[in-house]
Amino acid sequence: MVQSLPRLKETASQTAGPYVHIGLTPNYCDISGVFPEDLGARMMNEKTKGERVTYKMRVIDGTGSIVRDALIEIWQADAAGLYNSPSEPRGKADPHFTGWGRQASDKETGVFTFESIKPGRVPFTNGRLQAPHVSIWIVARGINLGLQTRMYFGDEPEANAADPVLTALEHQNRVPTLIAPRTGDTYNFDIHLQGEKETVFFDV
């Protein structure tokens, strides 16, 4: 026998289910009067520093159908590359930018729309700079454990080509699944849950 390690096991995940919006975006599903507004609906205000951009995301299942009952949360650095978090050791982030957003999809189109600013660059574990990116968490009916991925910016080809995460991917033909092309001020990002174009998901 050896000494015991006093560690606990992480609580098991369970699906968010089809009614996740009751809990996380109640105003979106017509439960009004409990919370004044849905949390994460606004990430910034007029004083936020940085270039205004829009992310339009879709989630697509293995049959090619658009998933409308998912919920997406995003987390990103401010324009200077700092996170608005007590765990950010490098300095104080823009107080007018939360860095965190949560959205349900448009009921008709299935598009998740985030109004945000383009993030600055954040270092990798070895100190090399990563390309600008947005961390993404997806939950839905049929997803047992929230899916983690990232969105990179299509108009940053040089940064993307040197990004430590993207360059380390074994299957370089999958890199485009993480890059959102830019049209005007909008980045369009389709997340494929499975199939030929399956998005790269992370276990980090």
Binding site: L8, T11, S85, P86, E88, Q130, I143, N144, D203
Partner: protein, 246 residues
């Protein structure tokens, strides 16, 4: 003694043999929504280690009382009155303070206040079904609600969900984020549920079953159920062999 320095250690690797696999055909919705390729791993960067924090000013006075937060003045939701309480801990068994905990559930008849729920059981005009709270300095949380009902759902021709409350928990880092469901001690429906059974390890399922705690009941008012939640643990920066902050 509290550690006031920012936490900058990376998180322990998630045990994916303990968590339910993405592809779990007994729960049919997973079949076309489960990634088939292996997820890609890399060491935690600040993008994973940091996360949003919510202040107590976010909370309204009724946010943690589902018996009244949607009810008309002077009225109450129908159903067995309960208090749910517990602690949010990490895998190091340390409390996780100041994190937002959100919850939602069906009413006492097993019906959700949602356009897509067509179950026969009626809506309760005084029950919305959502609430939230923030853990205190010791990781404690609690809320008041009514015990939800079991309900049938379209999977097999006769599958039922055991009574449950959904939880979404923030940690201090974005990759600690967890979504789960709490079940109730003694419910025989738990072990028949295809969603519960996506979890491979019986011990992991038992970790989702809240204990009836008669010592914490509110006499002549509400029974109490204790539900502790464990988030991923953080490595100590003591052992880091590189400069803090990467």
């Amino acid at each position: 003694m509290k550690n006031e320095r920012p936490e900058t250690g990376g998180f322990f690797q998630r045990d994916r043999t303990w968590q339910p696999p993405a592809f779990s055909p007994g729960y049919k919705s997973t079949v076309v929504r489960s990634p088939q390729r292996a997820p890609v791993s890399f060491g935690n960067t600040l993008s994973e280690i940091t996360g949003p924090v919510f202040g107590r000013s976010l909370l309204g006075p009724l946010d943690n009382d589902l018996t009244v937060n949607y009810a008309k003045p002077g009225e109450n939701a129908i159903g067995p009155r309960i208090v749910v309480y517990g602690r949010v801990l990490d895998e190091n068994a340390r409390p996780v303070p100041n994190v937002l905990v959100e919850f939602w559930q069906a009413n006492a008849g097993g019906r959700y206040r949602h356009k897509k729920d067509g179950y026969l059981a009626p809506l309760d005009p005084n029950f919305g079904g959502c609430g939230r709270t923030i853990t205190d300095e010791d990781g404690n949380y609690w809320f008041r609600t009514i015990q939800p009902g079991a309900y049938p759902w379209p999977n097999g021709i006769n599958d039922w969900r055991p009574a449950h409350i959904h939880f979404a928990i923030f940690g201090h880092g974005f990759v600690q984020r967890l979504i789960t469901q709490m079940y109730f001690e003694g419910d025989p429906m738990i072990w028949q549920c295809p969603i519960v059974r996506t979890i491979p390890d019986r011990k992991a399922i038992e970790g989702l079953v809240a204990a009836l705690d008669m010592a914490s009941t509110v006499p002549m008012d509400a029974r109490a159920y204790k539900f502790d939640i464990v988030l991923r643990g953080r490595r100590s920066t003591l052992f880091e062999n590189k400069l803090e902050g990467n």
